[in-house]
Amino acid sequence: MNYDQARFSRDDVYEPLLSEKDGREVDVDSSLPDDLTRDSVSLPSLSEPELARHYTRLSQMNYSVETGPYPLGSCTMKYNPSFIEDVAALPSGAVHPDRSGETVQGTLAVLHGLQEYLADIGGMDAVTLQPPAGAAGEFTGILVAQAYHEANDDDRSEVIIPASAHGTNFASAAMAGYEVVELPSGADGRVDLDALEAAVSEETAALMLTNPNTLGLFEREIRDIAETVHDAGGLLYYDGANLNALLGRARPGDMGFDIMHYNVHKTFATPHGGGGPGAGPVGVASDLAEFLPKPQVRKSDGGYELFDPERSIGKVHGTMGNWLVLVKAYAYISRLGDAGLRDASAKAVLNANYLASQLEYDIPYDPFHHEFAATAGDRDAADVAKRMLDYGVHPPTTKWPELVSEAMLTEPTEVENRSSLDDLAAAFNRALADDDETLANAPSRTTARRIDQVSAARNPRLSWHALEDDGGD
């Protein structure tokens, strides 16, 4: 424990920018006419060993799942087995997206296999793999809902979203042109059926919901929620961010959800890559399958083929999506199988409950599944989080959901063992016990000390050119 990051300290910087090592301006000499080409280009030109050291040093200044636990609530950052990288790197998988279906039967077989796996796991009838991220999946799902209503000559203008939902839900619904109706949470942290009754109307296109919700609480009344939305003529959309808690235990389709997205980079392997790539496949009930993006993969005589669903919404990505992420998810699910998937959820839920039992924090809402919202009480959750960095761990998600004051939304996932959870709990508890000044000045043992976010936003310097314009820095 107490993981310390490397610092490569010169007088003013930790590791110089490439431009500070070399910034060679090269004249552009081309066989194209001069009026079609630029005069010069200025890029660093370094040797391979110099670059290898640069990127190795930078990697050592970066926290990752393979350096320590990452208990970010709602983000599901779990260890991903190494072998999936080798599977994704298989040379026969590297094909051009415009190849004819007959010549890429292997690729289509993997995609079809993943479609089937995901349909089974979600209790859905058809799945598209095209959306390149979870939020892209949300947008796709909402477009499918819109197309469905339009096909029924049913013009609806609103999407209902619980106040505690992921911000992307709001953004995705708005992108599709919907008004967002925000649903307040009930006293128990769940959907308040009376409030939902009041919110639904003939303008309701869909309700977007995750279950367990962002406090880790299962919406026990999900059948009634579904009935309320369906009775009003709306569709029920499932945000798959918390699916890791439910694998083999419950399925969105069985709960009455009509549309869902899967964050395969959270639930089914794929290291998060510092911010992506992800993939956000969308599953739908049978009467919505004809609206899915094109093309889709299906079985044909003796193989697989691409086809366009009859009333497809069209495209949400230039091609079929993030192939490398999808093949990793396929390999991961193949490896775990029923027993492994079910066990992953069991351990994720046990670990969350065990970690909570070791914390000296209030946890206002329970019983929770894979994540819980602890409160830092009268301390600033963001400061507590910064202090946790000094104790060598990544802190949880802070100040969200807003339902809990000074929230620390914690999701240890299934991959931590008891001693790791004990260490994590110690870091939580030590940070909470530190004095205000220590918290305000944290972190002190990391690569960089507390970073000034305000000046970064007030005086945006987004490239090394901007730094040079400032006369260096």
């Binding site: 066989s31 006419p33 079609l36 080409t37 630029r38 280009v41 200025s42 670059l51 290898a52 990752s64 950052m77 599977v87 026969s92 997206p97 415009d98 190849r99 292997g106 690729t107 796996y117 390149p132 979870g134 892209a136 949300e138 947008f139 911000g167 953004a171 619904a173 299962f218 059948r223 399925r251 069985d254 998060h272 890559g273 510092g274 495209k315 230039g318 993030n322 192939w323 390999a331 490896r335 775990l336 199988g337 029923d338 027993a339 079910r342 069991a346 839920v349 065990y354 039992s357 019983p367 910064k386 960095l389 972190p443 690569t447 507390r450 000034d452 970064a456 936003a457 987004l462 490239s463």
Partner: protein, 423 residues
């Protein structure tokens, strides 16, 4: 652990009503690592081993081993979005350097640190144009040669923003500026042009298109790719307000169409930029440090008023692309781009000598790819080429598109021979 929690079994911790509980049986059997690898390998080996002369936005450039090797370092690969910048300086610096490369190559001062792909980048550019010009109009104008993937995504992204798409005609593979000028008016919020185009043509009229857009108070969005920008006219110098396109031409290879979208724009539109931005700042000790910045544009703060819904993006791909650019360096970038021009020119000249083939169809300069005319039906020619081990695009009844890079250049002679048989 169960004792500490106060239960006898994990199952007791699940608060799921019986009427929605599931028994866990999907019928997926657990397998060993070795089994999975063997099976996936066997499945993928059903792909035909063809030499691809395919492009249209997705290119196979040799990715240096340094990129594959160092990008897989687990500290990069298994990290999350940099919400705690004090312990993610390494990745933030790489993304800052990626943004810097895009700024250098486009000449525009603001670049984000990735979009999903070229199609979604174009679509987000149109939404940006709608936001900054919404008082004046609602039409986005694009070439009728637009790649169908881009056109499809664009339609879906603009509809909810109340925008519509019109197309302008091309003349001999390049923009028909006169026809375009008839279409651009007060209602136009954005004019989109590409160089190289989907057919590999280097657009000769970018400056005129930029002026036309500016005169009508519309944004000029230029589509290109990261390697082409090392050689072709600098977008800022032809009046581009936004540059979008494929950054994945470096760092990723074709990967069945997985992408990385470029996005750069002018300072004026900074607060309307979609996606993530990394900025330089200082830490409490006064040292330079990097952080995600201007997050008030993003959906975890502004929710439905955010500039886009992008959360998870393509950061690791951007890291690979930055590494590839750095590996090539200034000379390497220019040399590789020039090779694209000369390889395409040489191949077109050789195909032009084949009886029944005329290449290139467009009397223009080309980058990396071109369209060829075949006297025989293109489908039949392509099918014959496929049986000889080559993949090409069919882009018309008698038109085939061919793309050449340094990775397939060694097979160019064989392709010409196969054309001699097929055409």
């Amino acid at each position: 652990m169960l004792d500490a929690v106060g239960v006898d079994a994990e199952d007791e911790l699940f608060d799921i009503p019986d009427d929605v509980a599931f028994d866990g049986e999907f019928g997926i059997s657990s397998k060993s690592e070795a089994q999975v690898r063997t099976e996936v390998e066997a499945t993928l080996s059903r792909n035909h081993d063809l030499v691809e002369f395919l492009g249209r936005g997705h290119y196979d450039h040799y990715v240096p081993s340094l990129v594959s090797d160092l990008s897989r370092r687990s500290e990069f690969l298994t990290s999350y979005t940099q919400y705690q910048p004090e312990i993610t300086q390494g990745f933030l610096q790489v993304l800052f350097e990626y943004q810097s490369f895009v700024v250098e190559l486009t000449g525009l001062p603001v670049a984000n640190c990735s979009m999903y792909d070229a199609a979604t980048a174009l679509a987000e550019a149109a939404r940006l144009a709608g936001r900054v010009r919404q008082a004046s109009g609602s039409t986005v104008i694009v070439p009728d040669h637009l790649h169908e993937g881009k056109a499809g995504v664009l339609d879906n992204y603009v509809e909810g923003a109340g925008l519509s798409v019109e197309t302008y005609p091309m003349d001999d593979g390049a923009v028909d500026v006169d026809a375009l000028s008839e279409l651009v008016d007060d209602d136009t919020v954005m004019v989109y042009a590409e160089s190289p185009t989907v057919h590999g043509v280097v657009e000769p009229s970018l400056g005129s298109i930029g002026s036309l857009a500016a005169d009508n108070d519309a944004l000029f969005c230029l589509g290109s790719d990261l390697l082409a920008l090392a050689l072709l006219e600098e977008p800022a110098s032809v009046g581009a307000d936004v540059v979008v396109g494929a950054a994945d031409v470096l760092g990723l290879s074709t990967s069945y169409g997985m992408g990385l979208g470029l996005f750069a724009t002018r300072e004026e539109f900074l607060r309307q930029v979609p996606g993530r931005l990394v900025g330089a700042s200082e830490d409490a000790a006064g040292k330079r440090a990097f952080t995600l910045t201007l997050q008030t544009r993003e959906q975890h703060i502004r929710k439905e008023r955010a500039t886009s819904n992008i959360c998870t993006n393509q950061a690791w791909v951007a890291l690979r692309t930055a590494m590839h650019v750095a590996s090539l360096g200034a000379d390497g970038m220019v040399d590789l781009a020039e090779q694209c021009v000369t390889n395409a020119r040489d191949l077109a000249a050789k195909l032009d000598e084949v009886v029944g083939v005329r290449a290139p169809v467009y009397d223009r300069h080309h980058f990396r790819e071109f369209v060829a005319h075949t006297d025989q039906p293109a489908e039949a020619v392509a099918s014959e080429l496929e049986s000889e081990g080559f993949a090409v695009h069919v882009v018309g009844e008698h038109r085939i598109q061919v793309c050449i890079t340094e990775t397939n250049a060694g097979h160019a002679e064989a392709l010409v021979t196969a054309f001699e048989e097929a055409a």
